[in-house]
Assembly symmetry: C2
Homo-oligomer: 308 residues x 2
Amino acid sequence: MSNEPRVALGIDIGGTKMAVAIVERGGRIIASDQLPTEAGRGFPRAVERLVDASRGLAFRAGIAVADLAGAGIGCTGPLDPRRGTINNPWTLEGWNNVDIVTPLRAALGLEVRLENDADAAALGESTAGAGRGADRVVMLTFGTGIGGGIVLDGRIYRGVGGEHPELGHMHADPAGPACYCGISGCLESVAAGPAINAAARAIGLADGREAFALAAAGDERASGVIARAVSATARVVWEIVHSFLPGRIIFGGGMMDEHFDVFAPEAARKIAAATMVPKERVTVARAALGNAAGVVGAAALAWQEPGA
Amino acid sequence: MSNEPRVALGIDIGGTKMAVAIVERGGRIIASDQLPTEAGRGFPRAVERLVDASRGLAFRAGIAVADLAGAGIGCTGPLDPRRGTINNPWTLEGWNNVDIVTPLRAALGLEVRLENDADAAALGESTAGAGRGADRVVMLTFGTGIGGGIVLDGRIYRGVGGEHPELGHMHADPAGPACYCGISGCLESVAAGPAINAAARAIGLADGREAFALAAAGDERASGVIARAVSATARVVWEIVHSFLPGRIIFGGGMMDEHFDVFAPEAARKIAAATMVPKERVTVARAALGNAAGVVGAAALAWQEPGA
């Protein structure tokens, strides 16, 4: 139908800032804005500011809110996509089981969908970034934690009961530290930002940043710290290749933006060693959209089948 | 539609024997037969005998072949479901890249679908066995190798290019032996029949069977051999829970038929330790259909969407 709306609203909610964008179906951002989250100042206030920002954005873009295909929200979890509730008092102070979908739907007069931010980012990269053209995409986002998003045939994959899998907590290093997830040595416990910082400090460095820099300059002990995270990541890549067997594995997040070339070769070597799967069809790619993946994927939710 | 065929033909091809069955849509077997594979006596002969056995079976069941919804084949791989070819000269002597779908389709006048036997078994258990009622099912079949099958919303999951993932080759034991898959310590290298046999012999026992018996009687060294396979299995269960996050994980194959109770508690303990996923929704179950899973799942292929 030629009258079908071709733009949607994407909202990305993080611990410190929120982004809103009006995005074309193909993933092009028409207009975007950003505002501080200030979760601690109350959830109703945040919703109100999101509504104002969205309306303002649409106005500036010359688009009537009613002409949008819908709105999608990617948010740092835990959250419940089916109920539309966020329950993340750790990162979003005071947001205990808050329903964000109902008030936004009422205020904007649009269908609103909520997803985990790692899933939204994976959908964004699949739609318009490093996952384009692949019908099996797995994205790992490296940050304070390590989030995983799986997109199959353009739809976010969910497990039993619509729940979000946690790829970042697969086994990755037999000698790794205990994690709150329930095992020792999961990927997050070895390769997330804080884990690399801690390992760097343990050998007397200031932080992970210094470890990356010294390792690049050939320092042996710093290289050991980095190698551990690199090898843990490659190991989880192997698990992904032997489970979802995707055509594209995307590494995202600030650390990968900067250090993709440190991580990718080892992952590629691991894949190249595989004999039981069509390894030549699997590639590891750097996320292409940066921070924009969140809003692009959130907007793409407007075109996902309900309940998908 | 009341005229829609409610029965289909299921064929299960293994290294030593082949089974044919006429199966209702819900998974009930109406009639079945078995014949030796005798792969080495030629592929055309095997096809001819399958056709004769299928026609004979339909006749005895009082069903016209033309009234069947279609035929499905589960076969020991490697194979290519899209091309309909089997390429497994290792287990099926002389069957190098043979097209089984075209001659069967011509001889029976039915649509014919081909799948990996682990996938067919998983579909069978999902349709009529231990996976009933779950929309996310992962099955591990323990035998000479360890095969994995994934069924999502009643459809066999495939990776890039329609290829079959290899869950049995995920990392499972950091100290495990080298496997032909490309790593050391994959699940198959530690928990498949031959691996347990080898570990049993290494401590002076006759085989895995003796190790299971002695371990049950409290023998410490035999318990060590079994514990290693049990712990490797639990570890891969953790990976499955954090990737596909299925509601049902099924253990199948002869060894699990006999020793499910040795493996299941450790897998359940591992799941119970998880904090990031809805562990209360995930159960480990023993395969319910035994050898029949293959033909039941193969028949169910007749109702899968083409290309699914």
